[in-house]
């Protein structure tokens, strides 16, 4: 009788061990399980990047303090690898979603983070820089957004669309946002006029195939 009990116990332990091994295999499969891929490393330092443009921080008037701070949990992956500091966040403007858009000092330039999570990016150059969001939980699936930063002294920008038309948008405390339907012409560039009267433009970074693919509905638990 005792032998049977022990045998059952051994079997149960074997099952436990198998389950543990199975879990290990499942974890090992992350990343495709390639034998030649680089081993996982602990994220303790930001990735290498270009030399820091100090004048950019100065132009964007990023100051320490947290009068209208952002929760650290709302700071996205790019800001984290770029060493953005949530304690130095400055509220720039409201997001179309509601909530704030913040400018954060980073190891190399500045980053943007937002309460809604839609606006997030990092910028090293001391000029107008644009980012695009084609799909994100806080962005309606049928819309596209172009946002970014502009140095002090630029209070309006022009979004140049694929059909040649233009939309003028305001810069509020160094941050701009343009949101439109994906049915509208593709945003190509963000342009502005310098104090010397020269027209400059940077890419809006909206890819040609931005209308392709279904964007998951965040309310759907199984997207």
């Amino acid at each position: 009788m005792k032998r049977k009990t022990y045998a059952l116990l051994v079997a149960a332990l074997a099952l436990l061990a198998a389950a543990a091994t199975g879990t290990a295999f499942a974890v090992g499969a992350v990343g495709g399980g390639d034998s030649d891929q680089e081993p996982a490393v602990i994220l303790t330092e930001p990735t290498p990047a270009e030399a820091f443009a100090q004048k950019f921080k100065e132009q964007l008037s990023v100051t320490a303090g947290k009068p209208n701070g952002i929760e650290a949990g709302r700071v996205g992956i790019t800001s984290r690898v770029r060493g953005a500091n949530p304690d130095g966040a400055r509220l720039a403007r409201n997001s179309p979603n509601g909530g704030g858009i913040f400018v954060l000092p980073a190891d190399e330039g500045v980053c943007i983070a937002s309460d809604s999570g839609v606006e997030e990016g990092c910028y090293e150059e001391a000029t107008v820089s644009a980012s695009s969001v084609i799909c994100a939980p806080g962005l309606p699936g049928d819309q596209v957004e172009v946002f970014g930063v502009a140095p002090d002294g630029i209070d309006k920008l022009t979004v140049v669309l694929a059909d040649g038309s233009e939309r003028t948008i305001a810069v509020e405390r160094n941050v701009f946002v343009y949101r439109a339907s994906k049915e509208a012409p593709r945003p190509l560039e963000v342009a502005w006029t310098t104090a010397a009267g020269e027209r400059r433009a940077v890419p809006a970074h909206v890819p040609e195939d931005f209308r392709d693919g279904r964007c998951a509905n965040p309310a759907d638990p199984t997207p």
Binding site: A49, V81, H205
Partner: protein, 127 residues
């Protein structure tokens, strides 16, 4: 008697092993990452490489100097629905887009959003 002793030894060994695993798990709160792609990608194209898993973030970056548009995309592996798609100059990440999709198996890709062939690095993050 010998059987009983052996079973007790096995129990002790298993408990010890499971305890060590638990400690390792509890202290492994840090994030790990896998690099992928890392080779030249044709103009305005996605890299043929990808990474799948219970990903929490994805980034695309251009390792060289100069301005190059890069894109990242994460889809739910089963349905193919996009969970995150963003483009930017030189580096772009999925922000906090994947925060609510922890238990969904995902596939991450990166792409070159410029008119010339460039090397694009992808990095997929796992808890």
């Amino acid at each position: 008697m010998t059987l009983k002793r052996n079973v007790l030894r096995m129990c002790a060994a298993l408990v010890a092993a499971m305890t060590i695993g638990a400690i390792a798990s509890s202290t492994a709160g840090a994030v790990s990452w896998y690099n992928y792609c890392g080779w030249q990608v044709a103009a305005n194209s996605a890299c043929s490489d990808s990474r799948s898993g219970y990903l929490i973030a994805n980034t695309a970056s251009y390792p060289g100097s100069g301005d190059v548009g890069v894109c990242e995309r994460v889809v739910a592996a089963e349905s193919g629905s996009q969970l995150s798609r963003r483009c930017d100059n030189r580096i772009v990440g999925s922000g906090t887009d994947l925060n609510g999709y922890g238990l969904i198996w995902k596939t991450a890709t990166v792409g070159n959003d410029s008119n010339y062939k460039h090397t694009i690095d992808g990095t997929a993050y796992i808890p």
